[in-house]
């Protein structure tokens, strides 16, 4: 067992855990997109960033693949973290506005505008399908090809893979193919925010103050 601090609370954690696993165990809500139980962490979407360290020397790390260590000080909701997460969702939403998963994330985080030119890509390159195919289905029928903006998910050499069993796991796990959101129309892009629960505590503190899921209760109370 190791001892670490999460949002000011000293907790005991299992040696092999990541920060994300520790936070989830203690009920802290950290948004994720490219992370799934049962698959190796990708560290691609960067939404699960948390701030670690004390005083001046803090940095953001992805909690999904950062191993816990003794004396680690983690803060899951700071201004720096929230700013980063919002920008990342904004970037993803501009790429792929028709994903309900992304729209929900945007709504939950209070992303109310997209300042970039809107594209209509079909894929956010989170790599869930690639890891699903390799790690759970044992097929390795798809992978990444290309570099930078040329990067894409495809079977080797862009030809139909002979190890693909058409099992559909890649489609099942995709956060974009499934649940197409019919809502947004460019240029507004954001579908109207079904839900907005930015923790209002941030206006006064640089930490989230309640240790439950960000329920938005205080936000609604203040609005009233």
């Amino acid at each position: 067992m190791k001892k670490m601090t999460i949002n000011g609370m000293v907790v005991q954690v299992e040696d092999h855990w990541t920060i994300l696993e520790a936070c989830r165990f203690y009920g802290m809500d950290i948004p994720t997109l490219c992370y799934r139980d049962g698959l190796s962490p990708g560290g691609i979407c960067r939404l699960c960033v948390v701030e670690i360290g004390k005083g001046e020397r803090t940095k953001l790390v992805t909690s999904c693949n950062y191993p816990v260590e003794d004396g680690l000080v983690v803060r899951t909701h700071t201004k720096r973290v929230i700013r980063a997460r919002k920008m990342l969702v904004e970037l993803l939403l501009a790429r792929c506005p028709s994903s309900k998963t992304l729209q929900d994330l945007a709504a939950k985080m209070g992303v109310q505008r997209v300042r970039f030119k809107v594209k209509d890509e079909k894929c956010i390159l989170c790599g869930l399908c690639v890891r699903m195919c390799e790690e759970q289905m044992g097929a390795k029928a798809i992978g990444f090809a290309g570099r930078g903006k040329e990067r894409r998910v495809t079977p080797p050499f862009d030809i139909k893979s002979d190890v693909c069993r058409n099992c559909g796991a890649c489609m099942y796990i995709c956060p974009v193919c499934q649940l197409r959101c019919q809502g947004p129309e460019p240029p507004s892009v954001v579908c109207g925010a079904c839900l907005n629960v930015e923790p209002v505590c941030l206006q006064d503190n640089d930490d989230v103050m309640c240790y439950l899921d960000t329920c938005g209760w205080c936000y609604k109370m203040k609005k009233r």
């Binding site: 700013r83 920008m87 990342l88 970037l91 990444f144 903006k149």
Partner: protein, 619 residues
């Protein structure tokens, strides 16, 4: 060639004496730069012409020709140095060869027109230490390039090469070697500036066998070529450093990662390794010390990102060269999850110096936090481009004006980009800054691998930021969201600004995006990528404002924001611009005022350059 194995340090000294005894120091020797830069300028032809000319005169046994590494003054290639006098001939063409042979080798006179001429005083300089470009440098690493043939290990041994190895192996324990490097405070020359000694110690103490040592010669910065010059010009200095490092770390296997775009470096390093093996300087029981070590060359496919440590190791493993999350350092879990120590070419080349002359001597050079010398690739709008090796603490002004010879055509200096595409632009008001790792970081730039791109008043800073970001968009591996999406959006916004579609709020958005990219990107590429944008916004915000608010490009670079027209009062009707215009956009008759048709004009600027009367004006 059959080479005798060196079995002890005294064997090495004996061999050195034998090599020196065979050589007559008074025998004339022609050293010709056969580095990539000079070869591109036709050095191969110069070399063959020299050989033919000597043969014709029956001098082939009297005079030795040596194809050497790059001495750095690439602006003035092909460089030919005649020893023993050390006469420097610059910009030598094959046609000059008979004259050099006739005058210098036979009559012992100088060929005046091929000597360095000071552009202001017209004074000639004959020797290396008289040429201002060399005079102000401190050439500890690159200075030997012109003296050795990289394809012949004897040249390096004759200069005292492998002496540091002969000192380290029998006399010092691995811990003592690490202690010496730590005391020398040698910081990594590849960009990060991490203390090499500490990295070595971490790798040495990390659990797991085998341990690997790796040379990083995946130099991808536009305009930087110091690693190439060392690797192809004096590979043994790097190999010697690597063997010493391997001994200190306890590694028996090393790799030299060279990008395949450097074919000459690959070739020369391969020959160097082969010759070192023949002498027993690599392989089993090196110099009778019982220490085994060997090196393989790995040719990289040339991705910029492969210079990043974890990406380089992925590439070495045969995978795609993409970075891995580094919450456990590569010095603990690197290549094939084993402790791996990666250092830049230049860092390795410093090791023999430190072992030979001691940490005390090394720390006497440089500043408080940065010791030793650094090779910079001085390029851009500067008179003398080339490789410049200077001690840390020298000011930018000294590099650009004393060594670089100032800005061409009497233009004004505007900024200098240090650290390659991920570095930052340092404006004129900081020109007296002392150059070292910490000072450059304070200004928002970085040392990087030592690229130094000088810009004059005709450079648009928004365009510069756009250029570097466009480069990085292509070079990002595309794995994590902030780097892939962020760079693409940044490029989109900057291109919009340059093409007159900038809008209020763009600067703030760029700044916010930059901060998030710095915070959340997976590897160093994404974390440093916003530097050119942040520094240009910080130091040249007025230029951004002019582009966005007034739709003007103050430096007249961004084509969408400028118009060419002809001043009717100055135009003499000479037809020069009319004939030069590739679009046929200029109308006019002889001795009548010419007019530019804006619809046809492609804004190439040829008319502006052609007009002798200054009648073509940019607005």
């Amino acid at each position: 060639m059959n080479r005798r194995k060196i079995k002890s340090p005294s064997d090495l000294e004996k061999l050195r004496q034998e090599i020196l005894a065979k050589r007559d120091p008074k025998k004339p020797r022609i050293a010709i730069c056969a580095g990539t830069g000079c070869l591109a300028l036709g050095a191969r032809k110069v070399i063959t012409t020299f050989k033919e000319e000597l043969k014709k005169r029956g001098l082939e046994n009297e005079v030795e020709i040596r194809e050497t590494g790059c001495p750095g003054f690439c602006e003035k290639g092909t460089i030919v140095v005649i020893y023993p006098e050390g006469i420097y001939y610059l910009q030598v063409q094959p046609g000059d060869v008979p004259e050099i042979v006739e005058k210098t080798l036979v009559e012992k006179k100088h060929v005046e027109r091929l000597l360095y001429t000071d552009p202001t005083t017209n004074e000639k300089a004959i020797h290396e230490d008289e040429i201002p470009f060399y005079k102000h440098q401190m050439r500890l690493l690159i200075g030997n390039n012109i003296k050795v043939d990289p394809k012949n290990i004897d040249d390096y041994i004759a200069l005292g090469g492998y002496r540091a190895l002969a000192k380290a192996l029998p006399e010092m324990t691995p811990e003592e070697v690490i202690e010496e490097v730590k005391r020398a405070n040698l910081r990594g020359r590849g960009g990060g500036g991490f203390p090499a000694g500490r990295k070595w110690e971490t790798t040495r103490n990390a659990p797991g066998e085998p341990k690997y040592v790796i040379v990083n010669c995946d130099e991808g910065d536009p305009g930087a070529f110091m690693n190439r010059a060392l690797m192809e010009g004096n590979p043994h200095s790097v190999i010697e450093g690597l063997i010493i490092g391997a001994y200190a770390i306890g590694s028996h296997e090393g790799f030299i990662y060279v990008r395949d775009e450097y074919p000459l470096a690959v070739e020369n390093t391969g020959i160097a390794l082969e010759q070192a093996r023949e002498y027993g300087l690599l392989g089993r029981d090196i110099m009778g010390s019982g220490f085994d070590f060997d090196v393989k060359i790995f040719r990289g496919a040339g991705a910029f990102i492969s210079g990043e440590s974890s990406a380089l190791m992925s590439s070495l493993e045969g995978k795609v060269g993409a970075p891995k999350p580094k919450y456990v350092h590569t010095s603990i879990k690197g290549l094939w999850n084993k402790p791996s120590n990666l250092n830049n070419v230049e860092t390795w080349a410093n090791i023999p110096l430190i072992i030979n002359k001691g940490a005390r001597w090394f720390t006497s050079i440089g500043t408080e936090g940065s010791k030793g010398t650094k090779i910079f690739a001085l390029v851009g709008k500067v008179n003398n481009t080339g490789l410049v090796e200077v001690p840390f603490g020298i000011t930018l002004r000294e590099i650009i004006y004393n060594i670089g010879g100032g800005i061409p055509n009497n233009k004004k200096f505007k900024a200098v980009q240090t650290g390659g595409p991920s570095g930052g632009c340092i404006p004129e008001r900081f020109i007296d800054t002392a150059v070292d790792f910490d000072e450059l970081t304070k200004l928002g730039s970085m040392m990087g691998s030592g690229g130094m791109i000088v810009m004059d008043e005709d450079t648009c800073m928004v365009d510069v930021a756009r250029y570097f970001i466009d480069f990085l968009v292509d070079e990002s591996c595309g794995r994590c969201v902030p780097c892939r999406e962020g760079l693409e959006r940044m490029s989109e916004i900057l291109n919009d600004i340059c093409e007159g579609r900038g809008k209020e709020g763009d600067i703030e958005l760029l700044e916010e995006l930059s901060e998030v990219m710095k915070d959340t990107s997976m590897c160093g590429l994404g974390r440093t990528a916003p530097n050119p944008v942040l520094t240009t916004i910080h130091y040249f915000r007025d230029e951004y404002d002019a582009h966005i608010k007034e739709k003007k490009c103050p430096a007249h670079v961004c084509k969408a924001l400028i118009e060419y027209y002809i001043d009717a009062e100055k135009c003499t009707g000479c037809l020069a611009c009319l004939k030069a215009c590739p679009e046929g956009a200029i109308a006019g008759e002889k001795e009548r005022v010419h007019v530019i048709n804006r619809e046809k004009c492609s804004k190439c600027g040829i008319c502006y350059d052609t007009c002798k009367f200054g009648a073509v004006i940019i607005s």
